[in-house]
């Protein structure tokens, strides 16, 4: 009785092994897990929305073919590294990042899991990749072109307000994109006859003090990195002072910023989705050159201009892709 029981169990086990082997032989439907890392305050950062939309177009339906593990760190760089490591530990198939801090955190956390970045203004200067054409390692992505666009933003602001004489450029002390573009912005300021006051801040108190130094008539060049909520607080401060301010992306113009010049955030997510899709289909990140953000938009909010009593020059209106009335 006992022997027959053992034989039956062995037979059952053999059958299960056979069934399992047969199942393995079938091409299983793979559901990919994408880790998302940024310093936003909610899961719906426009680059993430763009990524999702782009991947839908590439045939990856959320919930069926792909899932997202989204970690956002609310402007706190100290939390970003821990979040990157948590994603690696969670075993995601790919990490999608937005901004330098998140990208460098992901790079530090893994040299194995593919990383696709967005909102990195100067990927080479910030040592994210050695070169655009040969990114090497496990990282590739979309450059948001800070080196060329930082000076152009100042130029656009001057075009909006020709009498502008003094502009504040306030960014976080860890914002390597801000630091990296500073020399280029300074050169542009000299050419435009603008006194550029660059200020790095390390905490909320320093930021508050810097904001109080902005005077009516001054201009504001907002940074791209959201650490300490600097762009938002600059938007509020500039509105309060009716000071002209320019932002890196249209999103700010939609919510009260005067103007922006740069690639739209969501579009960069859509663009990056193509790189993600290729990686999911087997291409190595090192074989995918870093791309420059496709389109650069000039956006203007006429309501904010009217509130700040800034007459919008015709040549700005002609060049603007997006005019919010």
């Amino acid at each position: 009785m006992h022997q027959s029981s053992i034989i039956m169990r062995a037979a059952a086990l053999a059958f299960l092994v056979f069934v399992a082997s047969a199942a393995e032989a079938q091409p299983a439907h793979r559901v990919y897990r994408i880790g998302v890392l940024n310093e936003a305050w909610a899961a719906n950062h426009p680059t993430v929305e763009g990524l999702k939309a782009g991947l839908r177009d590439w045939g990856y339906t959320e919930g069926q073919d792909i899932t997202y593990d989204i970690r956002f760190t609310k402007g706190d760089p100290a939390a970003t590294q821990a979040a990157a490591e948590a994603l690696v530990k969670a075993g995601v198939d790919l990490i999608f990042t937005s901004n330098e801090s998140a990208t460098l955190a992901a790079k530090k956390a893994t040299d194995r899991i593919p990383v696709v970045f967005t909102l990195v203004g100067d990927p080479v200067g910030t040592l994210v990749v050695p070169s655009f054409s040969q990114p090497g390692g496990n990282i590739t992505g979309i450059s948001s072109r800070a080196i060329e666009l930082g000076p152009k933003r100042l130029e656009m602001l001057k075009m909006m307000v020709p009498k502008l004489r003094r502009v504040w450029y306030i960014f976080h002390v860890t914002d390597i994109s801000g630091t990296g573009t500073l020399d280029h912005v300074r050169q542009a300021a000299t050419k435009l006859d603008i006194e550029l006051i660059a200020k790095t801040v390390g905490n909320a108190q320093e930021l508050d003090a810097a904001l109080k130094e902005i005077k009516p008539g001054d201009g504001v060049l907002a940074p791209a990195v959201d650490t300490l909520d600097i762009p938002v607080l600059l938007m509020e401060a500039s509105r309060g002072l009716r000071a002209p301010a320019i932002f890196p992306s249209e999103l700010f113009v939609n919510y009260g910023g005067l103007m922006s010049y740069g690639p739209e955030l969501r579009a960069q997510g859509v663009q990056a989705a193509r790189l993600v899709a290729k990686i999911l289909r087997g291409t190595r990140p090192r074989d995918l050159p870093v791309e420059r953000a496709d389109a650069v938009d000039l956006s203007v909010n006429l309501q904010t201009a009217a509130f700040a009593q800034i007459p919008v020059p015709q040549r700005i209106l002609i060049r603007a892709n997006v005019v919010r009335r």
């Binding site: 936003a40 909610a42 719906n44 929305e49 938002v232 509020e236 999103l251 700010f252 939609n254 009260g256």
Partner: protein
């Protein structure tokens, strides 16, 4: 006499109103603002929320010294959710109590009825909870809308459906003013978004059984089911959909689904249901694109939420509360702008105001029709309302498609 008793009883039931009535002892007589509200009857839950909004607004105004240097006295009577009763109350308020101004009642049908009274006496009336467009399309001059129009209430549901490639929709609705307006607007929006309307059918007010109607929904097999209705029916229809095992990829209701008791009554059956809201307390913390706080579009909303929780601990706080507060804010703003209690001047001020309140944007056309305020779409997820539309402010994403009843957790 009976009328006065009701006011006094309400005053004792409400600390806010006692404060308001206390103003009568001051040197200058208070400005008297009258309203009828559904504090009992089928609309009671929402009418009470609206009342708390009025009360809080009056308290805050009086705390700041009132308007035109005078305190505000709020006089409210229960219309028991009956339009005819509300009409009698507004007649009394205007002709016997001789109030200086009025605020609207709860619901579109009651607003429709009492709008004739405000018109008759040329008394401007902010109608915070009346959103059937037809009220404002009859050439009336003294009624003003605060909510976004009923026709647009399912704009978010249809936007998500269209983006997800859904093709067909069925609409079942109560055969009364507001749900009919929403149903007609939904039909128009569906056509614009390329969805085929496979069923659009009304049921009578007071219906208790939707078995045959839901049977026709099953036969039509729509991708989307929209039910413009009120709280009690919303609960009953959801329950019967479950009992009859009828499911669509999306199911949305218009009014009442935003109340916490919708979920507490239905439990897990409320999960995945979409609902329209005109405002949520959560708005004060949301960020567009996860980056930009949108609280500036709702100035004072954070303080309103905090004050509500302090003054009415445990009481429900919904868009009806905020709309009530907002309607009162707009009236007081208009009185201040007019610089007097002259009805024509107040009316002119209401027409010209282009402002934002705790409830969001306010701007009306010459017929008092709301142009600026936008609705939200939420979905019940794990017992909470997750705002899923408009995309730019929605922190959550829809759980889509709605699973079959047998496969739900």
């Amino acid at each position: 006499m009976k009328f006065i008793q009701r006011i006094v009883l309400l005053a004792f039931a409400s600390p806010m109103l006692m404060v308001a009535l206390g103003g009568a002892a001051q040197a200058q007589a208070p400005i008297k603002i009258g309203a009828s509200l559904a504090t009992t009857g089928s609309f009671a839950a929402l009418g009470q929320n609206q009342l708390r909004g009025y009360q809080l607004c009056v308290k805050h105004a009086n705390d700041k010294g009132g308007v035109l240097g005078r305190k505000i006295e709020l006089i409210v009577e229960d219309d028991q959710s009956q339009a005819a009763t509300a009409v009698r109350i507004y007649e009394k308020l205007i002709t016997q109590v001789k109030v200086d101004a009025i605020l609207g009642p709860y619901s579109s049908p009651i607003t429709e009825a009492v709008a004739d009274v405000s018109e008759k006496y040329k008394m401007p009336m902010l109608a915070p909870l009346g959103s059937a467009s037809s009220i404002f399309k009859k050439g009336r001059r003294y009624v003003f809308m605060v909510l976004s129009p009923a026709e647009n209430w399912f704009e978010g549901l249809l936007d998500i459906a269209a983006k997800r490639g859904l093709k067909t929709i069925a609409i079942i609705y109560e055969d009364t003013l507001f749900p009919k307006s929403t149903a007609q607007g939904t039909i128009d929006l569906a056509k614009k978004r390329g969805l085929q309307v496979v069923l659009a059918e009304a049921y009578p007010k007071g219906a208790a059984d939707w078995t045959s109607l839901i049977g026709r929904v099953r036969a039509a097999n729509p991708d989307v089911l929209a039910a413009p209705t009120y709280f009690d029916d919303a609960v009953a229809i959801t329950r019967q959909l479950k009992e009859l095992n009828v499911n669509s990829k999306m199911f949305g209701i218009s009014v009442g689904g935003d109340l916490p008791k919708f979920h507490s009554t239905l439990g897990s059956a409320a999960e995945f249901v979409y609902g329209t809201s005109q405002w949520e307390p959560e708005l004060v913390t949301l960020r567009a694109g996860g980056l930009i706080p949108i609280a500036r579009q709702y100035p004072g909303a954070r303080e309103f939420v905090e004050a509500h929780n302090k003054e009415f601990p445990g009481a429900d706080l919904s868009y009806h509360s905020a709309a009530g507060y907002s309607g009162c804010q707009i009236l007081l703003n208009a009185i201040q702008t007019a610089g007097s209690l002259d009805r024509e001047k107040i009316r002119e001020a209401m027409l010209k105001l282009n402002t934002a309140t705790v409830f969001g944007a306010y701007k009306v056309d010459e017929g008092g029709f709301q142009l600026a305020h936008k609705a939200l779409l939420f979905q019940w997820q794990d017992g909470k309302k997750a705002i899923v539309w408009p995309d730019e402010i929605a922190p959550g994403t829809p759980r889509f498609p709605t699973p079959e009843w047998s496969k739900r957790p």
